[in-house]
Symmetry: C3
Subunit: 271 residues, 3 copies
């Protein structure tokens, strides 16, 4: 049974990896999938997860998968434990499929309410042979995703799995009127994305006077758009993925503000 | 009415943005489009427009769109004014559709001869809800482009628009026998692309002795191919997009010649 | 005759170039192909071959093409001789098609056993007009690949070709118990990929004590997975493309070990 025959449109497989775009890795994976299911459609989410950054992969997966149609297969290969005993998983949730290593990349999917089906991938007939010990993206995960896209039942790939490796969101800490947040990463504009979520701190920060101080700069209230600051003025706002970010209108906050991923910023809050 | 039923092939949506490839932005936009029209085909032009560089986006759009089939939808999201009062547009020209902010990115499309149809996008039923104030690429432009690809009529998205924000090509200046051109950007080979167009200066420069001088190097005539210079010798030629560029055979002019984007170069011309 | 009518799935054209992702080059090529064959599917292998690195392009092509379905057309544009007398080729091997310049990029495909068909591309009706002297990727190779994807016979594009430009693999050298290998490039993890092949040296190196010494570090045996080293410990292993690489568990060997592409490493071997 071909997946396309049910829906009339090509089954979609998304790719989220830390392979970068410069070598043979991504191109090999795409070939493996098209060879198994020439009808599937491969969509790059990103191949520029910071090397081995499982938190970032889990975040990007959470913030993108929900926009895709039901039936989409999301392949995540950020896999520092490749070749070891770490399990390989297929997870089904909300009619989406997730394929990748059991290392925490699916944490935020698993945190969601609703039914979870999962299997540990074990059936070697779905792998490339020989199976390398360094590139399961090509030899195991890509062929499994492609077979899923052909309509192969989840249960054919292995036995039910539970007790997954989980990663907690690194929550910001509020002590008295001081909120300590961490810079998680910079986006391509140089916007510094923090771990401070709108869900937890939106009502505290939006509309109230705040104070964030750095070397030669300060921010005194939350903005709504990038453009409402003067050029090169630092601003703070909740971005499109509902995390607080430090940005700069027409400038690169990462290059200019002297703070970087991994560092802690403090926000004084006046309620 | 589905667009595909008319043509028999998938409607194409091209993407030109400054989002980079490293985060969730592009992947989210693609999901939004595939969810609305699972038959559409999304083609990346580039996501590496320099941040907020409207001129570069306008140029890349002009130099690529014309190669695509009629009916293609070109989505351009270089949008420093996101969340402000800047208008959101659909422009139809030569049976191509252009979707993006009214900030100058469509200048060179609008400059072309021929009929222009345009609407200001206003109809909220085509947006994601809630509409963020920082990411209209995902919440407004992507869904509008996807609905266009379903065959939804232009006029359904809003009222006719005119008086667009325009950007002029930053023309080179010729005074007596001295042509002053600006380095606009470097390509991935390190070729330094100038604002000197073949249309305006081709007949002046091609075949005539010229002189461009830099720190320790000079160029004395226009080349036709990169390979006709000696290795690491600087050359000048009109590139594939008909702009004069300073290049280096088997080398990176940007890294080696001591000139960079934003700088002015002078060409002495002998007619 | 449309290619799709034979196979029921879209004909695939893969792209391997050194154009980078930042400008109009790749987007223009994709448009040209979709305009000629709106049914074709364009897959990016990579656009980040190091500028003019023909060896790297030949390697990536060899390590990816074999995973694709029969009938796939592989377009390779790493073309420092564009506009000169270098020939343009279509090669057919193992029911795959290869399109690109005759400069060595097809060396490892040609080295394979089995029948080779090849033509020199000469028929101008398949090119864009005018043909630029600097961008045959857009004006010659892309349209030829698209016409091939429509089912146009190989022989229509020109006369049979032979005596191709060939590049040899830069083999490692073993003298007594000392193996001298070259660092070819670093991947996006910073793994330093050498020219030492598993085919030639696997049985010598695997399972035997070895010694690789650098500034402040040494490696004494071959690993099987990245994870079996301690964090930040340098290791050597045969990677997924069967080349020996120097890597670092949870670290970037390129940034931390003080060796870089082009350098020679020495491995003491005890049999």
């Amino acid at each position: 049974m071909v997946h396309t025959s049910k829906t009339g449109f090509p089954p979609t497989i998304t790719l989220t990896t830390d392979f970068g775009l410069q070598g043979e890795y991504v191109g090999a994976m795409k070939g493996v999938m098209l060879n198994i299911n020439p009808h599937c459609r491969v969509i790059d989410i990103t191949h520029q997860i910071s090397p081995q950054n499982i938190l970032q992969a889990a975040f990007v997966l959470e913030k993108t998968n929900k926009y895709y149609p039901s039936g989409t297969i999301h392949l995540v290969v950020v896999d520092p434990g490749v070749g070891t005993e770490r399990r390989a998983l297929i997870i089904k949730k909300r009619e989406h499929f997730f394929v990748g290593p059991d290392n925490g990349v699916f944490s935020f999917i698993l945190d969601e309410k609703g039914k979870t089906e999962a299997v540990e991938i074990k059936e070697k007939q779905y792998f490339l042979s020989p199976l390398s010990s360094t590139f399961h993206g090509r030899d195991l995960f890509a062929p499994v995703a492609a077979h899923l896209s052909l309509g192969t039942d989840l249960k054919k790939f292995g036995l039910p799995a539970k007790d997954f490796v989980r990663m907690e969101w690194p929550r910001a800490e509020l002590k008295e009127n001081r909120l300590a947040g961490k810079i998680l990463w910079a986006d391509s504009f140089g916007n510094l994305i923090t771990n401070i979520t709108r869900e937890e701190y939106g009502s505290l920060l939006e509309g109230n006077p705040i104070l964030i101080k750095g070397a030669g700069w300060k921010i005194q209230h939350l903005a709504r758009t990038y453009a409402e600051a003067r050029p090169r003025e630092p601003i703070a706002l909740f971005g499109s993925s509902d995390l607080l970010e430090i940005a700069m209108n027409q400038g690169n906050a990462y290059q200019r503000l002297g703070i970087k991923p991994g560092e802690i910023i403090h926000i004084e809050v006046q309620e």
